[in-house]
């Protein structure tokens, strides 16, 4: 499988604060990768390094290009949505489409107009007069109508309501993703994107704690819900976490055969959020 992103000993500091600490990851193409970490973990720094917005130490290749030196070439094949509204507030929607059309050879205006027709965004409105949700919708429509091989989303639904957040990811899945495209999405609200991810990267204090496929994680971690009186038996398996749930105990176990613990209670798949919290040591 083609390698989409190569990061080798990538390092970035802001003064005395280390934002990325010797990060090494290789991400293959055709995946939807969640970059998950608490606030200040280094998610935005990593995505900015991947899009050539900041300088860094180490080596990065995205689609075979070095973002620091080939940002313009890379942006011809990559789309980016940030956590804050970044579209020029003084422009009208129509002017934005004109501008995008002139600036990006991969932009399909008719497709963008089709996508915008599904929304309540009018072409003569100024961007500064749109709500935050509308601005994100507009930016997403722009990205979905622009040919690219990778879509990089940095907490794109930050500050938006739950209905819109769900609609956003539905659009990304239905209107963008196919086997030839990849998505990297950073979030600290993992439960929102869990259902769409194929892979996940957990990041904490600039270090990658884990990078694996969601399928592997579900094989590696199991959740066992047992009556309170069975708790001691489960503690023998050295659980990562133990929580209470109305007269029952919930354990998260790593690398334990489900058959060995199924006699104590119900064995199931833990959510990525549970795994994340466990690995973060309760700091999520």
């Amino acid at each position: 499988m083609d390698v989409l992103i190569q990061m080798e000993k990538v390092h970035k500091s802001y003064g005395r604060t280390t934002a990325l600490d010797q990060v090494t990851v290789n991400i293959p193409a055709g995946k939807i990768v969640g970059l998950v970490g608490p606030n200040g973990a280094g998610k935005t720094t990593m995505l900015r390094a991947l899009t050539g917005l900041i300088s860094y130490g180490g080596k990065i290749k995205v689609l075979g290009m070095e973002p620091k030196k080939q940002r313009a070439d890379l942006m011809e094949r990559a789309g980016v949505i940030h956590d804050v509204p970044i579209l020029p507030p003084w422009m009208r929607v129509r002017q934005l489409l004109d501008f995008q059309e002139q600036m990006h050879p991969g932009f399909r205006r008719s497709r963008c107009e089709d996508l915008l027709q599904r929304t309540s965004i009018q072409s003569n409105r100024k961007i500064k007069h749109l709500s935050k949700g509308m601005k994100t919708q507009l930016h997403l429509s722009l990205m979905l109508a622009t040919e690219s091989e990778i879509l990089i989303l940095d907490e794109p639904t930050h500050g938006l309501d739950i209905l819109f957040r769900k609609q956003f990811y539905k659009s990304v899945l239905e209107d963008y993703f196919d086997k030839n495209k990849s998505i990297i999405v950073s979030t600290h609200q993992i439960e929102e994107v869990e259902h769409i991810l194929s892979d996940v990267i957990f990041i904490k204090q600039g270090q990658v704690l884990l990078y694996d496929s969601v399928d592997n994680l579900h094989r590696r971690f199991i959740q066992v819900v047992v009556p309170a009186q069975q708790a001691d038996a489960l503690r023998e398996f050295d659980p990562l976490t133990e929580t209470s749930r109305i007269g029952r105990k919930v354990f998260l176990l790593e690398n334990v055969d489900p058959d060995k613990v199924s006699r104590f209670g119900e064995v199931g798949k833990p959510s990525l959020a549970d795994i994340f919290v466990a690995l973060m040591g309760g700091e999520a």
Binding site: A72, E76, G79, V84, I86, P88, P89, Q102, M103
Partner: protein, 327 residues
């Protein structure tokens, strides 16, 4: 190239409100000029100036003191050199100075616009985060900066040139009949101003401005890229401090202050080239009020300006890549 022009268009669209304000001031200037011309015409009437052409003979009459003096200029003397009497010379000088003042005033107004634009050009997109959008497009940082610099220098000077030339023609049209008649009587019709020379020279002056003020233009863009707030105040403040420091350190040694010196030389060029109206002038000859700035363009000062602008330009690109946000 398509991207470059799209970026230029974007700059215009973003700044058009400011342009409209400048255009408003320009129109106001035109109205004031029309009013001034009207008043001048009235003043000429009040002083009893009149002009008649009787066959080939021109008759200039001025009755300022109620004396009814009349000056007949016989046809056989119309080709000779006349000494310009006080009143017509004042009128001629008025028009000469007006042309120069108007050109410089429009130019100055537009240069102020350039200063405001350049100081805010990068800062504005950094402060509203739209810089992230522009940087998510397949366009090089250098192209974005070059479009801003081109718009703030070539674009704005072009605007200055077009507006000021239009203004000269406007003045020409607005010359009150009587004033022109008096000038004609002395062989000094405004039509004798060599407009092609004037426009050519004015264009060369703009090229010279581009070269000599280039470092200042890039400097303002540089500050816009570096600071976290108040780019215009910072840029001007630092410039003043630098000028004062330079004067304090090098003043006694006689080393010219590079900042104020630039403007001093600029002023000198205008003094050298835009001569006052001569005391005497040959009737029917072309009046060359404006000399050529061409010789100033290919000078050591121009070369130094290009080098300084280049250095500042490199610094601007360096910081543009690093300073994305203002917070």
């Amino acid at each position: 190239m398509k991207q470059f022009f799209a970026l230029l268009k974007r700059e215009f669209l973003e700044w058009r409100t400011v342009f409209f304000v400048v255009m408003g001031l320009y129109v106001l200037l035109l109205i004031l000029l029309a009013y001034g011309s009207f008043r001048l015409s009235g003043a000429l009437d009040e002083h009893g100036f009149s002009f008649q052409r009787n066959g080939r003979e021109m008759i200039l009459q001025f009755d300022q003191n109620g004396s009814g003096d009349t000056l007949n200029v016989p046809s056989d003397q119309q080709g000779r050199q006349f000494t310009i009497t006080d009143q017509p010379k004042q009128i001629l000088e008025f028009w000469g100075h007006l042309l120069r003042t108007i050109l410089v005033a429009v130019n100055f107004l537009i240069i102020l616009l350039a200063v405001f634009y350049l100081a805010d050009a990068v800062f504005k997109e950094r402060s509203d985060s739209s810089t992230f959008y522009y940087r998510s497009l397949p366009v090089r940082d250098s192209t974005i900066l070059l479009s801003k610099l081109t718009f703030g220098t070539v674009g704005i000077l072009l605007l200055s040139f077009v507006l000021s030339v239009l203004l000269v023609f406007y003045i020409h049209l607005m010359v009150p009949g009587k004033a022109n008649a008096i000038l004609l009587a002395n062989g000094l019709s405004l039509a004798q101003f060599k407009y092609t020379d004037l426009i050519g020279d004015w264009a060369a002056f703009h090229v010279l401005q581009l070269l000599w003020l280039g470092p200042f233009a890039v400097y303002f863009l540089f500050v816009s890229t570096v600071v976290k707030n108040r780019p215009l105040l910072t840029a001007i403040g630092v410039l003043i401090l630098l000028a004062l420091a330079w004067r304090y350190i090098f003043g006694p040694l006689g080393v010219p202050n590079p900042f104020t010196g630039n403007f001093r030389v600029f002023n000198q060029v205008i003094q050298d080239q835009w001569l006052s109206v001569p005391e005497t002038i040959t009737s029917r000859s072309t009046i060359e009020l404006f000399g050529s700035f061409g010789s100033y363009i290919f000078s050591l000062r121009s070369l130094i300006s290009v080098a300084v602008a280049g250095g500042l330009g490199w610094g601007t690109l360096y910081f543009y890549k690093r300073n994305i946000e203002v917070s």
